[in-house]
């Protein structure tokens, strides 16, 4: 497929790896955080870490929207789905996320709740149109990439004057996540986490553009390179980040020029601004409460807001005490630092969100990277 295969060429990968090895100053250590589910997945699936020198370390940040969705919201969704009149529509990733007490959407479905997996918001809308007697609830999650599709579905629902379609909105904002991490005690005071730069998210940036990152680059003096999600894109971006650090620069560079424009996607941004507004605060699994980080529907669209229609109360529920998802999402710990990893917590029996989503750091490590742990143990 054009515009995909060229960026997976093994020969070019080796060349880039050699260039990176030469660029990385031997005495220096580089730490780069990515917070894009697509990047976490690509890095694991293509084994990119094997091609990097030992002093360049990649940290997985909170780029997986499934992972940062608080338990209370999953529980609320399950409760909704258990209502006889409700048809809950959800993206595939959410189906196995553990709620409290071992529940999940998949388990609720097995017990009889009308839960349907959809590929797109428009599928949910189609169901609402086809089945007017059902109360269709779309479980909306995601960063800025999935928000415009939700906005469009709501616009269409409004145009068609649908009475049985609402959205359970859990959309969150990327810059807020970055800020939260950069301001966290781990980073600022304790020095547990060192971040020299960010690999900027691929899809999110096509919507929000390059501008929002300028603030972080300047204020926190971090290098930022927006990267495509193919493996060569990631490697080229790492090279660009190393160069920035070596040269003492902290700018926003765009490696993904073929899809990301500086101003992003104006139409998408406009649609989102029309329908959504900021919540004063929103709880993130692992990060706690983060101010101005989540979206909800404006009152003019109240008719399509699940929370208003059903009076949802979100209860703050904590994860298993030993679960280190929070620290892992912030980049303070690695999956292997968590006592539950590989023992109680496995892909079949996930305890926390990092293991459930294919893009979670723990799931990615389990699925692709465990053989490196063994190698390290031996040597």
């Amino acid at each position: 497929m054009k515009h995909a295969e060229e960026y997976r060429d093994g020969r070019l990968a080796r060349a880039l790896a050699a260039r990176i090895a030469r660029a990385a100053a031997p005495a220096a250590r580089y730490h780069f955080m990515e917070f894009c589910g697509g990047h976490t997945h690509a890095i694991a699936r293509y084994g990119i870490e094997d091609l990097l020198p030992g002093n360049v370390r990649l940290i997985h940040g909170p780029g997986c929207p499934v992972c940062v969705l608080p338990v209370g919201r999953i529980d609320a969704a399950i409760r909704l789905a258990e209502r006889a009149e409700v048809t809950l529509c959800s993206y595939g990733d959410l189906m196995r996320v553990p709620g409290s007490r071992g529940t999940s959407l998949l388990r609720a479905k097995a017990a009889g709740a009308d839960i349907r997996m959809v590929y797109s918001t428009l599928d949910a809308l189609r169901i609402a149109e086809a089945e007017p007697k059902r109360e269709v609830v779309f479980f909306a999650i995601g960063f800025e990439t999935t928000t415009p599709p939700t906005a469009l579905a709501i616009r269409l629902a409004a145009d068609k004057k649908l009475k049985n379609f609402t959205v359970f909105c859990n959309h969150v904002l990327t810059p807020s996540a970055i800020q939260n991490i950069l301001e966290s005690p781990d980073l600022r005071e304790l020095g547990c986490v060192r971040i020299d730069g960010f690999i900027g998210p691929a899809h999110v940036s096509t919507v929000i553009g390059a501008e929002p990152y300028a603030f972080f680059a300047k204020e926190f003096e971090k290098a930022v390179v927006i990267a495509g999600f193919e493996p060569l894109d990631v490697m080229q971006s790492i090279l660009m980040l190393i160069n920035q650090v070596n040269e003492g620069r902290h700018e926003v560079e765009n490696q993904y020029g073929r899809a990301v424009r500086r101003q992003g996607n104006e139409r998408a941004k406009a649609d989102v601004a029309e329908i959504f507004e900021l919540r004063k605060s929103f709880e993130w699994r692992g990060l706690g409460v983060v101010p101005y980080s989540g979206l909800r529907l404006k009152s003019s669209y109240a008719a399509f807001d699940t929370e208003r229609r059903f009076g949802i109360e979100s209860v703050s529920t904590s994860d298993n005490v030993a679960c280190e998802c929070g620290a892992i999402l912030r980049g303070a710990k690695r999956p292997t630092d968590c006592k539950l990893f590989g023992t109680v917590c496995t892909p079949e029996t996930p305890m926390g969100s990092c293991m459930v989503s294919a893009e979670g750091a723990c799931a990615a490590h389990w699925a692709y990277g465990r053989f490196r742990d063994r190698a390290r143990e031996v040597s």
């Binding site: 497929m1 960026y7 020969r11 060349a15 990439t145 999935t146 599709p149 080229q236 073929r258 899809a259």
Partner: protein
């Protein structure tokens, strides 16, 4: 591959993913025309791929590969 529908928010394209064809909503890429490549996410096209930029990236990558070969040849 083909675009149908006038109303901008339900403008739909048939997109070829390397042999698999699916209908994708083009509301957020109003400038997309037949023959363009688009970035798709959850059934929506979010960006039209800029060919010029793409070529620039590929050229850079290939240059690195060529230089690497040269470097390897001259390495001690």
């Amino acid at each position: 591959m083909s675009v149908s529908g006038d109303d901008s928010i339900i403008r739909v394209g048939r997109v070829d993913f390397g042999g698999v064809v699916k209908e994708i909503n083009l509301a957020y890429t109003p400038e997309a025309q037949r023959g363009d490549y688009v970035l798709v996410h959850v059934g929506f096209a979010l960006a039209v791929i800029d060919e010029v930029e793409a070529q620039r990236t590929l050229a850079y990558l290939r240059e690195i590969a060529a230089l690497d070969v040269a470097h390897a040849d001259t390495a001690p």
